[in-house]
Symmetry: C2
Subunit: 345 residues, 2 copies
């Protein structure tokens, strides 16, 4: 198991990236990590080094604010480009970056190519629920302006991903909307709703309201990447705010303070459930390799878990399974025809 890690991706790079890699290697005794970035600086930071860490020199950095335009194609000396290219060349089994997700997606597409028939790869992330298992949301930020066919692909890929990760036959899939009734939704969801209803291979359960994401009634929820990002960031922000308010309220009285001290250990599992770092990165589904995008604010723990996630996805043959999902059989139509007919191409 060899994983390439963009040492300069993320708000706290390269320190937390190196820490995360070392922690991962501590737990995964046969794995190797290849860091991409400034060789000189990384060598200095690594000190005497690690037998299963190597460095591939990449002097150029891609800024978070840079547009994922075609210019990126020519930035072959960037730590991100090298990171993905190592996987594309077969030198690593998977790649991980906490850098610009737009750039990560653009370069993953360019270098690892798409799975047949997938127009837009999607980011999938776990969302904590009242039940034991999380709900998987996609697309959580890769594609801001989507068409119904893209959301259909997300549903098929989410179906395959949940089958792998949750080990269930027919994951329950919901389409994020502003109400449960068929008359709700916007132009995009209404058209997508009709498409999804017509695919017997997936267990499409209709519209899912924002409040129902957390009940655990849905295994997978589908939306465009703009809405997905808003859901993700809103949830993160609200959870942090609530924990903050909770602590402030506890501290406002002596009894409250005492109660908090007594209850503090009981809060730990909740905090863990909400911490994105616990889940590691978000795989980009629909490309011909395992490419994990980590949160820009990744901690060492998040990087470590992203490396574990990459390893798991490789071992479970994720790419092969996604390929199979896109080859879905409709009772009356061949897959390609089914897709094309339904979007009127």
């Amino acid at each position: 198991m060899r994983i390439s890690l963009d040492a300069y991706g993320g708000d706290f790079a390269p320190d937390v990236n190196i820490r995360g890699a070392l922690d991962y290697l501590e737990e995964s005794k046969k794995a190797e990590v290849i860091l991409t970035g400034s060789e000189e600086k990384l060598k200095a930071l690594l000190g005497k080094g690690h037998p299963r860490i190597s460095i591939v020199h990449a002097p150029d950095l891609i800024d978070m604010a840079e547009k994922a335009s075609s210019q990126l194609r020519h930035r072959k000396e960037s730590s991100l480009y090298k990171c993905i290219d190592l996987t594309a060349q077969g030198a690593t089994d998977a790649c991980v970056s906490a850098g610009s997700s737009a750039a990560m997606m653009a370069l993953s597409l360019l270098l690892l190519k798409r799975i047949k028939d997938v127009e837009r790869p999607a980011l999938v992330t776990p969302i904590p629920t009242l039940k034991k298992e999380p709900c998987y949301g996609l697309d959580m930020g890769a594609n801001v302006d989507c068409k119904p066919i893209h959301l259909l692909h997300f549903a098929l890929m989410g179906h395959a991903y949940a089958q792998v990760i949750k080990n269930i036959d027919r994951p329950r899939i919901g389409l994020i909307s502003n109400g449960e009734e068929e008359t709700k939704g916007n132009e995009l969801t209404r058209e997508t709703h009709q498409l999804l209803k017509a695919i017997p291979e997936i267990n499409y359960a209709g519209y899912c309201e924002g409040r129902d994401i957390f009940t655990g009634d849905f295994d997978v929820v589908i939306c465009d990447g703009f809405v997905g990002n808003v859901i993700l960031k809103t949830s993160e922000g609200l959870a942090e705010t609530l924990m903050h308010l909770l602590k402030a309220n506890f501290s406002s009285s002596l009894l409250g303070k005492l109660g908090y001290l007594l209850a503090r250990n009981s809060l730990r599992p909740l905090k863990q459930k909400l911490d994105y770092a616990e889940y590691g990165g978000a795989p980009l589904l629909g490309i011909g390799g395992v490419s994990i995008i980590s949160h820009g604010r990744s901690s060492a723990l998040a990087i470590k878990n992203a490396l574990h996630a990459a390893e798991k996805n490789v071992k479970e043959g994720l790419v092969k399974r996604l390929n199979q999902a896109m080859n879905f059989q409709s009772p009356t139509l061949a897959p390609k025809e089914a897709l094309n007919e339904k979007v009127g191409q």
Copy 2:
């Protein structure tokens, strides 16, 4: 102060509506409430009645799932139609309904008309923040497919509303997006961002990520009604889920249980801050009257507070102030020209 209340709007109507009206009248000693709905049933439920409650008979009910189509125009015997029409006829100062928000909006538009230049009225709701004052979001569900000009109007109306409610001169306005950088956003937000930057009358602070809604750094956040509804419902669902998990975690150990008992009183202000019922309904901004849309799952408390909100908006001359906001002066262009030029009409 006379307010019409749709007695048959909402999931728990008419019982909680009657309870809410009675509680409101208990607190607002000079107000009157006119209930619209089945006279026979309402009379039976009211028993010996209340000196400041009257009933206007409306035998027809509008189902939550019904499309807010032109057919609604002809449903003049519905409790919702009568409720709004009373305000349109000048018989009441404001109207409140917890029924279908789409129908409420369509009929409010039809009967109360729009404020000059406002193409799409918007729902505004408070969102709790880390600071004392909430942030006001619009549109929170009235318009699912918006154009940049609509979001510009939302910003102008949000500006005026926050001035009234928060008593500040230059409310800080953010545009919901999937990142802070200018290169982020979708087609809609990118175009809107350019429009908003060009209006000197408002204090536009740029893109606002989902996580920043709760910091209190923004007084007003703008988005289309689909995204707004998703933000609102996601927040509600997550807050409920967290409170549930919190309690479950507390109960999982003896110390936790004891801590919870000691801290319970400290939790009350937090619960209050998160409960939409505390804030009452959401005013529909941009129409020529005070029209309050309550949550479909409104409790008696929510109905009571919606009636209080209606009263406050009438007393503060909300409609007049919104009219003034739409007459904004640009240094170089007349308002109508400014708007039209910027959207290329």
